[in-house]
C-alpha cells in the first residue's frame, strides 16, 4: 500500500485534488458558491502544499549531490500493448521541481484572485470547475514521467482553455475566440501526435528517463533517416520538428500565434492562468523536457545545429521581435500583455534553440510569475475602470457620455493615485517584464539568455543562429521595455483621460469599508505575493562572477543552474561572465524604459490625443502603424487562405459535389440503369414473348375470319363452287385417263 513516508508516492497525489475538486464542483456543488470556492481553494492549496513538500525533498537531495540526485519516479501499468505494457507514472527531477515551485504558486494565487474577480458572475461555479480541471491537467503534465501522460494533460488543458475563453459564451466574439484557440492549437497538436507516435514506435517507450539517458538510442535516432521525408531529415529530427510544432501551437509562436490575443475574451483569471503561468508555459516546458531528443545529433554549444534546434531558434527569435512590434501599437490593456507573452515565449524558445537550456527554464519560471502578476493587475485595473464607469454614470445622472471601452488604455490615466496597490504590483511586474536591471527577476533571466546568445554568437563563436537570436532578442528586449513603460504611463501616469478613469477605484470616503472598494482583498492579496516574488525570484540565478551580487547570492555557483542541470545526463556548460552582454541588457532595458518614459510619461497623453509613436511612424508611412495595429493582417490572411477555403471544401466540394453529386450520382446512375434494364426486360417479355404467344392464335383467328367468307349463305354460290370443283376434278381425272390410256 501507500507508504506515506516514501516521497515517491507524493507526486502521484499532486494533480489529484484539483481533479477531484473539478468533478465534485461539476456534479454536486454547482449550486453552492461557498462549497465551490471552498473545494477549489482547498484543493489548489493542498496541491501547492504537496508540491512544496516535494520541492523541499528535491532540494534536500540536491544539497548532497551536485547533479540534482536521482529523480523520484513511480509507475503503474496502464495499457497492454502486445507482449509488453505501457506504463504511466510520475517523475520528479530538478526541472519538475522548479516547475512545481512556480506553477502551483501561480495557480493558487490566481484561484484566490478569481474568488474576488468572479464574485458577481452568474455562472461562477462552472468557472471554478473548469479552473480546477485545468489545474489538475497542468499538474499532471508537470509531474508526468512520459510523453503520453504529458500529452494527455496538454490536450485536457486545451479543452479547458477553449471552455474558459468562451466562458461568456453568449458573446459571439468570446465563443469564436474559444474555437479559434482550440483549432489553432489542434493544428499543432495533431502533428505533435505523429511526433509522439513516431518516438514511441522507435523507442518502444515514451518514458523520459528511459529515452534521454540512453545515448546510443539518441545517437542512432539521429542518424536513421525518417520514415517520411527521409532524404532530408533524420528520425530524431522529424520527431523533434513535429514536437516543436506542437509548442509553436500551444505557446502561440509565429505562425500559430493568432489565437492568443483573441483569447483575451476570456475572464482575466483565465488569461493569467492559462496564457501566462500555465498552458503556454507547458509548451515551453515540453520542449525543455525533450531537449536531449531535440538536440540529438547536434551540439549547439559547438555550433552544430540540427533541424529542431534551428526551427526553435529562428521561429522563437522572429516571434519575439514580431510580437513586440505589434505590442507597441496595441491599445487594449490585455492585448499588450498577450503579445508580450508571445514575445517572451519566443525568447524562451530561441534560447533553447541555441542550447541555453538553463536560461530558458529560468526565464520560464520568472515569466510565469510576473506575467500572472501583470494579468491579474490588469484585471484589477479593468474592475476598477468598470466601477469607475458605473459611478461616472451615477454621478452625472442622465448625462449621456459615449460608452467607452474599459480595457482601452487610451481611456485610462492617472490611476496610480486611485488604485495604489494595483499600481505597485503592476509596476513590479512591468519592470520585471522590461528587465529592469538588478532588482527584478526578469532582468536576471533575460540577461542570462542574452549572455548565452552573446557568447555563442556575436561575442565569440559567431554561430549563425546565435547571432540571429542575439540581435533579434536584444531589439525585442528594447521594445519590450518600451511598450511596457508605455502601458504603465498610459494607464497609471498623467491624469485621467475619461470620467470613468476619474472615478476608478472609487472609494467612498464616508464609507471606507472593503465593499466600497473596487478591488477586493481577494484580488489584492495575490498581487502582493506575486509582486514580491517578481522582485526576488531572480536572485536564485545570479552568475557567480557577477560583481558583488554574485558573491552574495551564488557563493557556490549559480544555484539555479546547478540544480536544474541535474535533469540532464550531462551537465550544461556554464557561460563565463562577460561584461558586454550585461551592459547590453542594461542598455536595452533602461533604454527602452527611458524611451517610453520620454514619450509617454513626461508629456502624458491628453484625452483624444494621438499616440506619439503613431505620429512618428506615420511620417515614414501611414500604413506602417496600421499594419502593426492590425497585427500585420495575419488573421485576415488565415481567414482567406485557410478558413474560408476549408468551409468551401467541406460544404460544397465534399458534402455536395463529391458525396451527393459524384458518389450518389454513381449510385443513382446504377439504380437508374438497373431500372432501365428492368424495363427493357419487361418490354421484351411483353412484346416478344407474349407477342409470339398471342400472335399465333390471333393469326389463326384472322385466317379463319378470312376463310369463312366462303360460307356466304347463298345457295347458288355453293352450287357454283360444287360445279367448278366437279369440273376440276373431272378434268383431272380425264387428263389422267388420257395420260394412262
Amino acid at each position: 500500500m501507500i507508504d506515506w513516508t516514501n516521497a515517491n508516492f507524493l507526486p502521484w497525489l499532486i494533480p489529484v485534488p484539483p481533479l477531484i475538486a473539478s468533478a465534485l464542483i461539476f456534479l454536486l456543488f454547482n449550486r453552492s458558491w461557498f462549497l465551490t470556492t471552498l473545494t477549489a481553494l482547498a484543493a489548489t492549496i493542498l496541491s501547492w502544499g504537496m508540491s512544496l513538500a516535494v520541492l523541499l525533498r528535491a532540494l534536500g537531495l540536491a544539497f548532497g549531490d551536485p547533479l540534482g540526485g536521482s529523480a523520484f519516479s513511480s509507475q503503474i501499468a496502464w495499457m497492454d500493448t502486445g507482449t509488453t505494457q505501457f506504463n504511466i507514472g510520475v517523475l520528479v527531477d530538478p526541472l519538475t521541481a522548479v516547475m512545481l515551485f512556480m506553477v502551483p504558486l501561480a495557480i493558487s494565487m490566481i484561484m484566490i484572485y478569481s474568488v474576488g474577480y468572479m464574485a458577481n458572475d452568474p455562472r461562477r461555479e462552472r468557472f471554478f470547475g473548469y479552473m480546477a480541471l485545468f489545474a489538475g491537467a497542468m499538474l499532471t503534465l508537470v509531474v508526468a514521467d512520459n510523453l503520453l501522460l504529458l500529452f494527455i494533460g496538454w490536450e485536457v488543458m486545451g479543452f479547458c482553455s477553449y471552455s474558459l475563453i468562451g466562458f461568456w459564451f453568449e458573446k459571439e466574439s468570446a465563443h469564436k475566440a474559444g474555437v479559434k484557440a482550440f483549432m489553432t492549437t489542434r493544428v499543432a497538436d495533431v502533428i505533435m501526435l505523429i511526433g509522439i507516435v513516431y518516438l514511441f514506435a522507435q523507442a518502444g517507450t515514451l518514458n523520459f528517463r528511459d529515452i534521454f539517458f540512453n545515448h546510443e538510442f539518441l545517437a542512432e535516432l539521429a542518424s536513421t533517416p525518417a520514415l517520411i521525408f527521409g532524404g532530408a531529415i533524420s528520425a530524431a529530427g522529424l520527431i523533434g520538428v513535429f514536437l516543436v510544432i506542437g509548442t509553436v501551437g500551444k505557446s502561440a509562436q509565429f505562425p500559430l500565434h493568432v489565437w492568443l490575443p483573441d483569447a483575451m475574451e476570456g475572464p482575466t483569471p483565465v488569461s493569467a492562468m492559462i496564457h501566462a503561468a500555465a498552458m503556454v508555459s507547458a509548451g515551453i516546458y515540453m520542449i525543455i523536457r525533450m531537449y536531449p531528443l531535440l538536440a540529438a545529433g547536434a551540439d549547439p554549444h559547438h555550433g552544430i545545429y540540427n533541424a529542431p534546434l534551428m526551427l526553435m531558434a529562428y521561429v522563437g527569435a522572429f516571434t519575439a521581435l514580431f510580437a513586440a512590434i505589434i505590442a507597441v501599437a496595441q491599445n487594449d490593456i490585455k492585448r499588450i500583455l498577450a503579445y508580450s507573452t508571445i514575445s517572451q515565449l519566443g525568447f524562451m524558445m530561441a534560447a533553447l534553440g541555441i542550447g541555453a537550456y538553463v536560461a530558458a527554464a529560468f526565464h520560464l519560471i520568472t515569466h510565469g510569475i510576473f506575467k500572472a502578476l501583470l494579468f491579474m493587475s490588469s484585471g484589477a485595473v479593468i474592475h476598477a475602470m468598470e466601477h469607475g464607469e458605473h459611478h461616472a454614470h451615477a454621478e452625472h445622472h442622465g448625462e449621456h457620455a459615449a460608452p467607452i471601452d474599459v480595457q482601452d488604455i487610451r481611456s485610462m490615466g492617472g490611476l496610480r493615485q486611485r488604485i495604489p496597490v494595483t499600481w505597485w504590483a503592476f509596476l513590479a511586474g512591468g519592470m520585471a517584464l522590461a528587465g529592469f536591471p538588478l532588482i527584478t527577476a526578469g532582468f536576471w533571466s533575460k540577461d542570462e539568455i542574452l549572455a548565452e546568445a552573446w557568447h555563442l554568437g556575436v561575442g565569440g563563436e559567431w554561430f549563425g543562429p546565435a547571432v540571429f537570436v542575439f540581435i533579434l532578442l536584444a531589439v525585442a528586449a528594447f521594445l519590450t521595455a518600451f511598450y511596457t513603460t508605455r502601458q504603465l504611463a498610459m494607464v497609471f501616469g498623467g491624469q485621467p483621460r475619461t470620467a470613468a478613469a476619474e472615478h476608478a477605484g472609487f472609494v467612498d470616503p464616508e464609507h471606507p469599508t472593503p465593499a466600497a472598494q473596487a478591488i477586493s482583498g481577494f484580488m489584492q492579496g495575490p498581487l502582493l505575493v506575486l509582486a514580491v516574488f517578481a522582485v526576488i525570484a531572480g536572485f536564485v540565478g545570479v552568475h557567480p562572477d557577477f560583481p558583488l551580487l554574485g558573491a552574495i547570492f551564488s557563493p557556490y555557483g549559480n544555484p539555479f543552474h546547478n540544480f536544474v542541470t541535474g535533469t540532464l545526463a550531462e551537465e550544461m556548460p556554464k557561460v563565463a561572465f562577460n561584461w558586454l552582454p550585461v551592459l547590453i541588457s542594461f542598455l536595452v532595458a533602461l533604454g527602452g524604459i527611458w524611451a517610453g518614459w520620454m514619450v509617454y510619461w513626461r508629456r502624458p497623453l491628453a484625452a483624444g490625443q494621438e499616440d506619439p509613436t503613431k505620429v512618428a511612424l506615420d511620417r515614414v508611412s501611414p500604413a506602417l502603424y496600421t499594419a502593426m495595429q492590425r497585427k500585420f493582417y495575419l488573421d485576415e490572411l488565415y481567414n482567406a487562405a485557410f478558413v474560408r477555403p476549408a468551409q468551401w471544401i467541406s460544404d460544397v466540394l465534399v458534402a455536395q459535389i463529391v458525396d451527393r453529386g459524384i458518389i450518389d450520382g454513381v449510385l443513382h446512375f446504377i439504380a437508374r440503369a438497373a431500372t432501365v434494364i428492368g424495363e427493357t426486360f419487361k418490354r421484351f417479355n411483353r412484346v416478344v414473348i407474349d407477342g409470339v404467344g398471342d400472335g399465333i392464335p390471333s393469326g389463326i383467328a384472322r385466317f379463319g375470319g378470312w376463310f369463312r367468307q366462303l360460307q356466304s349463305g347463298q345457295v347458288q354460290q355453293y352450287l357454283l363452287m360444287a360445279l367448278l370443283s366437279a369440273l376440276v376434278i373431272g378434268m383431272v381425272v380425264f387428263v389422267r385417263l388420257i395420260g394412262r390410256g
Binding site: Q711, S712, G713, Q714, V715, Q716, L720, L723
Partner: protein, 102 residues
C-alpha cells in the same frame, strides 16, 4: 338413224341451260325449274346411251324411271320448302335466304 352425238349434244345443251338457270335466276322456283332441266338432260343422256350401248338390258330405263321419281319428289319437296320460306320471308329470291352464312 339419228347418231348418238346428236342426242348427247341436245342433252348437253339442255344441261347447260339448266346450269345457267340454276346459277343465274333469282327466283327460287326458276332455280327448281333449272334443276328439272338438268335432270331431264341427264335423262336424255341416259336414254340415248341405253338405246345405243345396251339396248337389250332394262338397266338404263330403270335408271331413268328412278330419276323421274326422284325429280318429282324433289320438285315437290323443293316447292314445299319455297312456299314455307315464302310464308316466312315474303320473298322467293334465293339470295335473300342467306341466314346460314358465317
Amino acid at each position: 338413224m339419228v347418231p348418238l352425238w346428236m342426242y348427247l349434244v341436245v342433252a348437253a345443251a339442255l344441261f347447260c341451260l339448266g346450269v345457267f338457270t340454276v346459277l343465274a335466276r333469282r327466283n327460287a322456283v326458276a332455280i327448281l325449274m333449272g334443276v328439272e332441266l338438268m335432270l331431264n338432260a341427264v335423262n336424255i343422256n341416259l336414254v340415248a346411251f341405253w338405246r345405243f350401248v345396251t339396248p337389250a338390258t332394262m338397266m338404263g330405263q330403270a335408271f331413268v324411271v328412278f330419276v323421274f321419281v326422284v325429280a318429282a319428289a324433289e320438285a315437290a319437296v323443293g316447292l314445299a320448302l319455297i312456299i314455307a320460306i315464302y310464308r316466312r320471308r315474303q320473298s322467293v329470291v334465293a339470295d335473300d335466304a342467306n341466314l346460314l352464312k358465317w
